[in-house]
Structure formats: C-alpha cells, structure tokens
Symmetry: C2
Subunit: 529 residues, 2 copies
Amino acid sequence: MAPEPILIDGHWRAADDPVDTFTAVNPTTETPLPAEYPVSNWAEAEAALKAGAEAAEDLRTVEPEAIAAFLEAFADNLEAQADEICRLAQRETALPVEPRLRSVELPRTTDQLRQAAEAARERAWCQATIDTARNIRSMYAPLDGPVVVFGPNNFPLAFNSVSGGDAAAALAAGNPVLAKANTGHPGTTRLLTEAAFGAVQSTGLPPATVQMLYRTTHDAGLKLVSHPLVGATGFTGSRSAGLRLKAAADQAGKPIYLEMSAVNPVFVLPGALAERLEQVADELFASCSLGTGQFCTKPGLVIVLASEHSRAFLAAVAARFRSPAGILLGEGGVRTIAQAVRRLREHGAELVVGGDEVDELGYRYENTLLRASGAQFLAHPQALQTEAFGVVSLVVFAADAAQMAAIARCLEGNLTGSVYTHTAGDDDALYDRIAPLVRQRVGRLLNDKMPTGVAVSPAMNHGGPYPATGHSGFTAVGLPASMLRFGALHCYDQVRHPRLPPELQDRNPTGRMWRYIDGAWTQRDVGDG
Amino acid sequence: MAPEPILIDGHWRAADDPVDTFTAVNPTTETPLPAEYPVSNWAEAEAALKAGAEAAEDLRTVEPEAIAAFLEAFADNLEAQADEICRLAQRETALPVEPRLRSVELPRTTDQLRQAAEAARERAWCQATIDTARNIRSMYAPLDGPVVVFGPNNFPLAFNSVSGGDAAAALAAGNPVLAKANTGHPGTTRLLTEAAFGAVQSTGLPPATVQMLYRTTHDAGLKLVSHPLVGATGFTGSRSAGLRLKAAADQAGKPIYLEMSAVNPVFVLPGALAERLEQVADELFASCSLGTGQFCTKPGLVIVLASEHSRAFLAAVAARFRSPAGILLGEGGVRTIAQAVRRLREHGAELVVGGDEVDELGYRYENTLLRASGAQFLAHPQALQTEAFGVVSLVVFAADAAQMAAIARCLEGNLTGSVYTHTAGDDDALYDRIAPLVRQRVGRLLNDKMPTGVAVSPAMNHGGPYPATGHSGFTAVGLPASMLRFGALHCYDQVRHPRLPPELQDRNPTGRMWRYIDGAWTQRDVGDG
C-alpha cells in the first residue's frame, strides 16, 4: 500500500522519496492502524515553504471578506464530516467520541474558526492607528511568509495544526499555514486538511493557503522554523521539542510562539478547606482526570497549609484518585509519566495513590497522587515542578504562610495559577500575600476554579511566562488577541491616501471597524468627529 | 582621582573593585575628558538586578499617577539642567549644542517623557479586555523584574539608556530600569541619571526604580540580559553587539528588543527625477548628513532606474556630498565606516565621492557616495547592504523595472523604506510593482520623504523585520505602543471583583480609560450601556 498523500501547493500528491514511513497506533488496542504515512524529506518541506511564500504574497491582495468566507466554509466542511472525523480521531487517540470529540472538541473547533472569520471581517485585530496631524498611520499586517504550525497530541481537532487555534489565528490574520501533523493522529489531520483545502478551493483562495506534511526529520523541522521564507511558527507540545525549535528559530531571527508545559499550581487556602473540602476535592479530581490528565492546564501541583483539614483533603482526593486509569494518547505517554513520577519521587515526593503502569490492554498509567512537605519542595523546587502528562498531581504541605509564600516565589512560569479561598473572606489576608506572587508567574489567575477549560474569549490568555511559553506577551487562545502573533507592525508615513490599505484610509472600510485615531478608539471615519 | 560613582539601589556609590576604568574622549579634540568611570564587576551588576527585582515588586502597588508624576518631574529636572547637560553632551559626542542638542534632542527627550507620563496616566496601553458574560478579564501588566537598557552612541539624550525611549516606555509601563550607559557619553548619562533619581526621590518611588552602571564586561552584559531576575532588555546599537546579547537572552527565554541596523532604502522613480531632481538630491543629502550620518534611519541605499536623469541625479547628489566632513561620535566610527566602505567596494561598488579618512583634528571620514549597477547589487545583495554609520550612501542603477523589483526582493529587514514618485501619477504603475515588495521588508514605508525624523507619534513604527530589529511586531518609538514590549499579558478568570486591578474592575478607574469590553472599545463602566 502506498503511503498517504501530502498536500503541497494545491495538490494532494505522493511524497517524493520519503525518508521513512510510519503508522498511527490505536491506543486502546495497542495495534497499528492500517494507513501508512510518509516522513517527508527536506526538499519537499522546502517546496512547501516556497509555495507558501508565494501564497503569502498572493493573499495580501485578498479581501478579508474572502478569508472570512474560507474560514466559515472550513467550519461547515468539518460539520459535514463530523462523524467520520470523530470516529477516526477516536481510533487514533482513544478520546471518546461522545461527549469529548463530537459534542465538545469539534464544536469548539468550528466555533473558533467562525470567531476567526468574524475577527478577519471586523479587522479590529490589526489595531489601525492614525495620527491625522502628522499623517502617520500604522497597523498589524500579515507576515512575509507562511506560518508553520506544529500541533500537539492531546487535542486532535481544536489544537490540530490545520484546524486549531494557531492555524485559525494565522489564517484570519491573512497568512498561509503549513501544517505539520502530529504523528499521533495523522489520519484525523488528513481529514481536517481535506476539509480546509475544500474550503480553499470553494472560496478561490490561493491553493497553497493550506498545506500539510505528516512528518519530517527532526533536522528538517529545525530548518523549517529557521528558513528565510518562513513567516513564523506556532508550536504546542513538549518543552524539550519546543526548546529545540526555539533555539533554531531564534538564531535565524524568526518569530516562534510556543506553548510548552506547566504544572498549573492550585493553592487551596485553609478557609476554603474548612468550608468545602469535598467540593474542592471533587473539582480537583475532575480537572486532573479530564482527557486522562493530558491537558496543558491540568493542575499538577496543589499547595495547602499543613493541618488536620488538609490531611483530610489529601485523603478525600486520594479516594477519588483510586479509580480506574483511562487510556492515554500513546505508548510514549506511559513512558513520560513514569519518568516524571520517578523524578518526583527521587526528589522527596511520596506516593499516596498509584505510581505504576497498568498491565491491561490499552496504554494506561495508574492515577497517581503524591505528597511532599514544603521543605522538600523548597529543597528541590525545579524537580518537584516536573510535569507529568496524565492523571498525576503532587500535593505540597506548607508548614506555614511564610513557607507557602516561599513556594509561590519558586514557581516557574506557568499557564495558570488558581487560588481557592473561603467565600466569606476568612482567607483574605493570606490571599493578599500569595496571589501577587502567583500573579507574576502565570498567564491566567483563577479564583475558586480549576484551570482546565480554556474559553475562546477575547479576554483569554492561554500563555504565560517562560518556560510555559516562549513569550509572556502573547496568547495562543482568544480572538482577536491570538492573531497578533502572526502580524508585523506596518507604518505608513506620508503615504498618498489612495495607496493606503483600506484599514488606514480616512473612510472606515467596514463602517464598524475599531481604529485608534488621534488617541481615541472609534468606529467613525477620519474627520467625522 | 576616584572613578565616578554608580547608582545602585538608591545610592550613588563608588564601584566596588572595578574590573577597569575608562574615560570618554572629546571627538573634536581627540583628547580624553577628565572624569574616570568604572567598569563594574559582575557582583555589582547582580546587586543592581536584585535591587531592581525588589523595586519591580514594590512598583506593582504604586499608582499610575505617581509614575506619571515621576516622569514629569524627571522632564522638569532635565529642563532645569539643560545647559549643563547639553554642554557636556557636546563635549562627549561633538554634536552641536545648537540647534541639535538644546533645541531638538532635549525637547524631544522631555516631550517623550511627558507623553510617557500621559500614557501611564491614561492606561490605554494595557489594553484592558473584559468578557462580561464569562467574567474573564485581561490586560498587559509590568514584567517580573527590571528592564535593562543599553543605549546607543548617537542620541545621547533622546535614546539614552536612562532618559530615552526605551527607558520612558519601560518606566511608564511600571517597570524599574537598570541603565547601562553608552561608554561614549558616560558623563551625560550621569547627569541624566541624577535628574531621574532626583525625580524618584521627590515623588517617593522605590529607590531602585532607576539604577545606572557605566559599563560592565562583555561577559557580564550577557549574564545581565539572561539572568532569572531580569524582566526584559531594550538595546539600541550595532548588529554584532545586539546579536550576541540576543543569543544569550533567547537561550534563557528572556525577552529582548533590539534596534540594530538598517540601510533604509530609498527608491526614486523616474517621474520624480524628471520632475524634481534637484529637490530630491537636496533632501537626500540633508537626510544622509544629519548628525554626520549617524542616524539609524539614514538612507544608505538609493535605487534608481539607469537613465540620463538618474545619471544627472547622481551628479547632483555628488556635488552635495563634496562638502566638508563632520565630526563623528568617536574614533570607532572612523574605523567602522572605513570597514564598511571597503566591504562595499570589494563587492563592486565604485567610489563617486570621498572614500577616505580626513587627516585633521577631530574624528572624521569624508562624505562618501558610491554607485553600483543593479546586476552588481544582485550578485552581492548582502554585502552591498552593509551599513556604513556616517555620511555614506550607495546609489544602485537598476537596468529596468524588473531588475528594480528584483532588488526590492533582496532587501534585508529594514527600519524604513521610501519611494519617491511623480506628483501627478506618472510613476504609479512602477510604484504599484515596487511598493508592495518594499512594504514587507520595512517597518515604516514613506512616500516622497526621507526616513530621518522619527516622530514620537502613537502611529509611529520605529521597528521592522529582522535584522533591523529582533521582532517585527514591536516599535521602539511611539507611545503607548512602545510600552507593549515591557508588559506581560495577565488574565483574571473568575477573580473576585474587589481583587481585580482597578483597570479591570467594572468601574472605569479614570473615567476615560479606553477598554475593550465585549468586543467594543469604550470609556464607560461595565454595565453602563
């Protein structure tokens, strides 16, 4: 059987002289799925970049309305094929069709594409800024080359390299996308790419607006993100892979946006435990076990003050963790969880529940709860922040408020940080001490809420300080803000009026686009005071 | 005589065990100025970082109004000492007191500080975004550590590490600044730092809000920008120094914003030459010779179509270049210009005027005009874009429109790109072919205007694609946009209302702050429809 075709420059074609081939594995049955996929050689990756660079140039003359229509057609196509897509995604990832894939993740994906369409149409993302007195005008505009997207294994649809948040943001900002499929779900990615390419064709966008390779060599990946023709890269995945790509891109001066890893600390203050211990335990386990713990925002570190209540809390959480293990996305997941748990234990964390692989069909690792003292954590703060990508969490018992603050000060950059407090204010003094420390170390601060569930909201920040991401100023989720990653700031100084892009001409191009004119945000035309 | 004191943690103190000392040199007389300045050791640099990190924490509870008052007091202090500052700056840089320093650069500096004060007060920079339905709120907030600023040699006041655009933006965004003086004008930097610190004291800000070192070892500089306690770095200077710092900062995941080098291409289309050859020649020479050619935006590359008109244009420009050489900022300037001119000539550029050092007192290099054919340029596009930081410009004669377009495609990332065209439209077809290519390769596109003169306007972009800067999405000049370099995106998810920062509470904290609420920019309170 020939390997599956790749999509380059508007053509589904057989990979030319592939370096290798690979198959996806059904994590439930531990057996390879039938289709074979090519590992593309560098020449092929470069051909895609070249076609993408031409598409980038062509896209500059395409109306935002056409891009919006494409994103909506893409969403429609996904809905039309929803059952097939979700069935295959289930086989490739072991994530359940219902409710996860069909009723949660697919709607999230199409909603995100439609929000991206609306953002493209509205054009507010480009922050058109006009200084009428000096006749200087600026806006964010698409990059000078395609955006390469590396998608993660854990959201085969909503963070997929072709249909997920990075792709939607890059496309809405007017950039072509070169998707590198996650090798865990290549078949799903093919179906999604078909839906995307169908929309490209039906709406008449440049053929290379969307391209897809299943896999390249590691070396070719490094070359891709640092190539002169690339506009930028979006990556969601492991810290080790992310940092390798970052080093290559940085050296070439190419922007790269990474969403890597986090333990997402949750501080549960004494009053909250006194008030609603069981409820918090419920919420913690629910958040930890969502998607078999394979969420970027899974709470992997819980900090409490040592007390009778917190010991009872640990027992309550432990009871919930003593439940059957779910199936992981792949064999690699079992291995990396085992490594992480080993590292945690080597640095003083004690097992409370779990800690071993499950000897049944399907890739599984026991739900695992660990504990450590605050002193142990402070002795090995880095090791005890090792991310375990599964249903694994470490509860740290701080001796007192000062030690809890010291722990907060040791936190690495994280996507999120949660603080649970007493509803009537009993914890407020401690909150005021802890929350400012957490605030500086996370992208999203939550109150009385677990971090899983990343709303596609204009106010969302799915980002945070390094090493959770590569840059604390950008979000990977939330439109239109996420589009700013894929824009360059373009200034026009005394450019003759008819030569200005419509967004910067005196007349508001849509009649409702928000622009920053002479220090005020407005939907009016220039001069229409 | 003891070396001059440094400012660390609120104290002017003698450098502790300096690695070395240095003096500034008067470029006009080629003699060292009397004061001696220390090269700080690493321990001292680290002490400044630690004090800066504490100040960063303290500043988080300081009202924007207090920061604005500080910036205004700083501007007032500069004006009170203007004569002394400008006299010393003149001795250290050879830039004339009038009009340059006293009537242009100092007013620019104080205007920029006052604009920064207004931006701090208005708070629009933080782009507060509120999703009321989901109760998710976000904004840009200060970083988790001090901003290190490396200032350039060419603007001793307006881009000075303590009083220039980077410092103003970082401070206005609520960050402390650790200034690394440019070693060309340490005495000026000391006076500016005294003005800044006086304002820190009179307005009661944390003492380490502003700190200053004259110099460190290169190694200590690399450690500074990559240190866990640093928030970010702003750098303006040479490409080689900038890229070394970038590599160190990138590896540590620390943001660094660089404004490095550019040749600022100017395309003069045939109709413009037919119409106003002498005027364009005047403008070109004026722009090239401003500040003895030591402007980041100096036009170092001019592209014309080969014709009788363009040969006459070259002659007209040459006549203007045959004027006395100005005094450069330092001896190093003579050396780097000579190297750059040598490199240009080695790759086919021919001398039209100048090309040698001037054997008189004062660091001088002849005004130098070179020419090359389009074919030569295309054979060595990189070498022929070598920046020569002085009154040096290369005129390239493209054989035809296609070759001119090919040249535009070879441009590196630049700060600016200018296109001169016929006023009545004779060049419009060629403009439409060239301008889109230039557009993607520059931060600021100009029409019929030379690039020097970077207005401090909200719509300015003093930035551009790599390697002109490190990131095409940010500007170093123009408030409030330049502040975004020194902010992190902070999201609040279900955070209890009284715990939100004032910028994100329902009530508009100033009554006029612009916020993005439920998809619309508004100055109203939440719920006040």
